[in-house]
């Protein structure tokens, strides 16, 4: 039982990170119908920038909470401006181009960011020195440390805050309007360019926080880490219903928990046939099933022109 609880906790933490990254995918898709492949790499930049800043600030003698806060702030600023620039440079000029064109530039931007990071940080693994050793507590026989609790709570706050922002603020209303119909929204006086820029800004800032969490949680990062993280988060977004913010949250959490439980129990379930190296099978099996039964994802709405 304690093992099961521990796996649930592992999955919950992992899922919270997936969910945060998935928000970035889903927001952009909801508004532009574009899969922003560069988003995983923006998260990677967030992770590496915060790693560098934490090391620098820590070396400068600042107390740990302050350096974490400043590093997180720095990562948010860097990633938000990166997200904003990506939209401005790579996507806005292609706003009225065929769907395929921005998709290709998205892949191009992703590669560009990866290799720029490789130039800046090198191709080796970046390690965060163990400056924080969070104390852990025991819960139902499982170990949880304060960092894990902080990750889950912070992620929940961000997700809740974003959902509130979209539904209760002026900008949020503009976002929803643009999502429903950009042309009509702009006729009604919504500055759709600004709304889209804001979407990228927000998504990238949330990605930066996710990157900070990854680097703190695992203590290690490298220029290629955004790829797998992005893929998993994208899967989570599709699982929950891409374009739907609440769906991204549920999809992310679900994916994290499925992965953890699968790694723990796949061997028993398959009678020793499959080892833990097949854990991703489960996650993607669930994805296929959901898409077969509910093509729009768990919370997605069926819409005519977007599938």
């Amino acid at each position: 039982m304690d093992i099961f609880v521990q796996q649930l906790i592992n999955g919950l933490v992992l899922g919270s990170i997936y969910a945060l990254v998935a928000l970035g995918y889903t927001m952009v898709y909801g508004i532009l119908g574009l899969i922003n492949f560069a988003h995983g790499d923006v998260t990677m930049i967030g992770a590496l920038v915060s790693a560098t800043l934490i090391q620098l600030l820590h070396a400068a003698g600042l107390p740990v909470p302050v350096s974490l806060l400043l590093a997180g702030g720095g990562a948010v600023v860097v990633c938000a401006s990166l997200g904003f620039s990506i939209e401005r440079i790579a996507y806005r000029p292609l706003r009225n181009a065929p769907r395929l064109a921005p998709l290709i530039t998205a892949i191009g931007v992703s590669i560009l960011i990866q290799y720029s990071a490789a130039l800046i940080w090198g191709k080796q693994y970046i390690a965060l020195p163990a400056i924080i050793t969070p104390p852990s507590i025991e819960f139902a026989g499982a170990q949880i440390n304060h960092l894990q609790i902080a990750i889950v709570i912070l992620a929940a706050c961000i997700m809740g805050g974003l959902i509130w922002f979209i539904h209760h603020s002026r900008m949020g209303r503009a976002m929803r309007a643009t999502e429903q119909n950009p042309a009509v929204a702009s006729l009604m006086g919504v500055d759709t360019h600004a709304v889209i820029a804001m979407t990228f800004l927000l998504g990238s800032a949330i990605g930066a926080i996710a990157g900070l969490m990854v680097i703190l949680y695992y203590g290690i990062g490298h220029y290629f880490m955004g790829f797998m993280l992005g893929l998993k988060a994208f899967t989570a977004a599709v699982l929950g219903g891409i374009g739907n913010v609440g769906g991204a949250v549920i999809g992310g959490l679900l994916l994290g928990i499925i992965e953890s439980l699968a790694a723990g129990y796949i061997e028993q379930l398959s009678g020793g046939l499959l080892g833990s190296n097949y854990r991703d099978i489960f996650a993607f099996l669930v994805l296929i099933l959901v898409l077969l039964l509910r093509p729009q994802g768990l919370l997605g709405q069926r819409s005519g022109d977007r599938a």
Binding site: I3, Q6, Q7, N10, G11, V13, L14, K123, Q124, Y125, A127, P129, A130, T133, S136, Q143, N145, Y218, G219, I220, H222, F224, M225, M228, E259, S260, L261, A262, A263, G264, G275, S276, N277, R279
Partner: protein
């Protein structure tokens, strides 16, 4: 190749210069045709060295090349007679950039340069594709650092190495875990790569033989950083040791997460874990972790301290890792040439298999596959943030507290069981003692 072979052959014979290496390289069709040129000129013997001289592994590659160069300078200073000619050795160093494709290009270049032997490559991924080219040309290749078992499993008679391979490392780790650490229930994790899984499987097989219980064998990848799920599963099985087949980018976070989950088991890995990077990534959690590395610690090698000093004087640089292996590879090649009285690969290659040489790294002799016999392996442990040698293990076959007689001792991993390497016996003038 065949197009060019004729003119080159004619020229070679006419000038009656050095030897037949080139002939062999170019025209394999008629190996018996080559006759040693009975010329009185000094014999020039080219020794190839291939290793990464640029890129992230350059420090290791340059180290190997310097080892080879030092050996050549020593030999030239000593004035070696091969046959009845005074031999002069020349170094032909090539850069394979640790890249398999570049390695084959470089191999061909060395073959075309008519080297008598090649010391290289460093990376298994480079040594393996290059080995075919050397084999086709009949040129002996001794790798100073490639540990993938496959390297010597291609059946080429020209392929040798002077370092323990992973097939020897895994069983040695298992014997250490069970005989010394008294581990009884062990969890194994591998990173699903040829290296990691091979190491883990070899470890598991020997551990089972010795009666330990393998409570779990989990898999991850060489890109993953989240091991909480498999570690949690392992925790439920309560092992007293976790063995990881893989490299430091995974091992570091893994040992950290072990600590997070309060797993009490000790941690052990192969040479991919025995790096400063592992300690950096694992932080305080890495304390007490163990890992093996083929060969002896530099200063524990029989000729170690003398070699380290000589190397430092010559290159104004400390030995990185594999320079002694490169040095010994040249020495053992030349020992074989002396015995054969020829630097013609076709003539001295059969002798190489029977040559025993007391090298810097210890006694060198090859088994029938070309692997180093009785390759020692050292277990290290992390103490106060540093890797410290813990124990040196000779991977002798299991059981039988055999008093070391020079010849037998089949390779530790029973890939080819009971193929007596009897060949070694007749030639050995100096008994191999350890």
């Amino acid at each position: 190749m065949t197009l060019h072979s004729k003119p080159i052959m004619i020229r070679t014979i006419m000038s009656s210069l050095v030897l037949s290496v080139g002939l062999l390289g170019c025209g394999k069709e008629q190996p018996p045709a080559k006759v040693e040129a009975p010329a009185p000129q000094p014999l020039i013997i080219k020794i190839g060295s291939a290793s990464p001289l640029t890129g992230p592994q350059a420090h290791i590659g340059i180290d190997i090349r310097n080892g080879v160069q030092l050996a050549i300078e020593d030999l030239n200073a000593a004035g070696i007679m091969v046959g009845d000619q005074k031999a002069t050795f020349e170094l032909v160093a090539e850069d394979d950039e640790a890249n398999p494709t570049k390695a084959t290009t470089v191999a061909q270049k060395l073959v075309d340069a008519k080297v008598a032997a090649v010391v290289g490559h460093f990376n298994s991924g480079a040594s393996i594709p290059a080995s075919k080219i050397y084999a086709d040309a009949g040129i002996p290749q001794i790798s100073p650092g490639s540990t993938n078992p496959d390297y010597t499993l291609k059946g080429y008679p020209t392929t040798f190495r002077v370092v323990a391979h992973d097939g020897q490392q895994g069983p040695t780790l298992a014997r250490f875990a069970i005989n010394t650490l008294k581990s009884r229930s062990i969890a194994v994790i591998d990173d699903s790569t040829a290296y990691g899984q091979g190491l883990a499987d070899n470890f598991e097989a020997t551990a089972k033989e010795l009666g330990a219980k393998i409570v779990a064998h989990e898999h991850t990848t060489d890109k993953d950083t989240d091991f909480k799920a498999i570690l949690t599963k392992i925790k439920g099985k309560k092992p007293d040791l976790i063995m990881f087949g893989g490299i430091d980018p995974q091992a570091g976070p893994m040992i950290k997460q072990m600590q997070d989950l309060r797993i009490k088991a000790r941690f052990m890995g192969g040479d991919g874990v025995q790096t400063p990077n592992f300690i950096k990534l694992g932080g305080a959690a890495s304390e007490g972790a163990m890992a093996s590395i083929p060969g002896l610690p530099k200063d524990k090698m029989p000729g170690g301290n003398e070699f380290l000093a000589k190397f430092k004087t010559r290159f104004n640089q400390d030995v990185e890792l594999f320079a002694p292996m490169g040095y010994d590879a040249v020495q053992v090649l030349v020992a074989a040439m002396k015995r054969a009285g020829s630097a013609d690969p076709a003539k001295y290659l059969p002798e190489l298999k029977n040559t025993q040489h007391q090298g810097v790294i210890g006694p060198i002799a090859f088994d029938e596959k070309g692997d180093l016999k009785n390759a020692p392996i050292t277990i290290y442990v992390v103490k106060a943030g540093q890797w410290e040698p813990l124990e040196v293990i000779q991977p002798e076959p299991v059981a039988v507290a055999a008093e070391s007689s020079p010849a037998p001792a089949a390779p530790a991993n029973a890939v080819a069981p009971a193929e007596a390497p009897a060949a070694a016996a007749p030639s050995a003038p100096t008994a191999v003692k350890k």
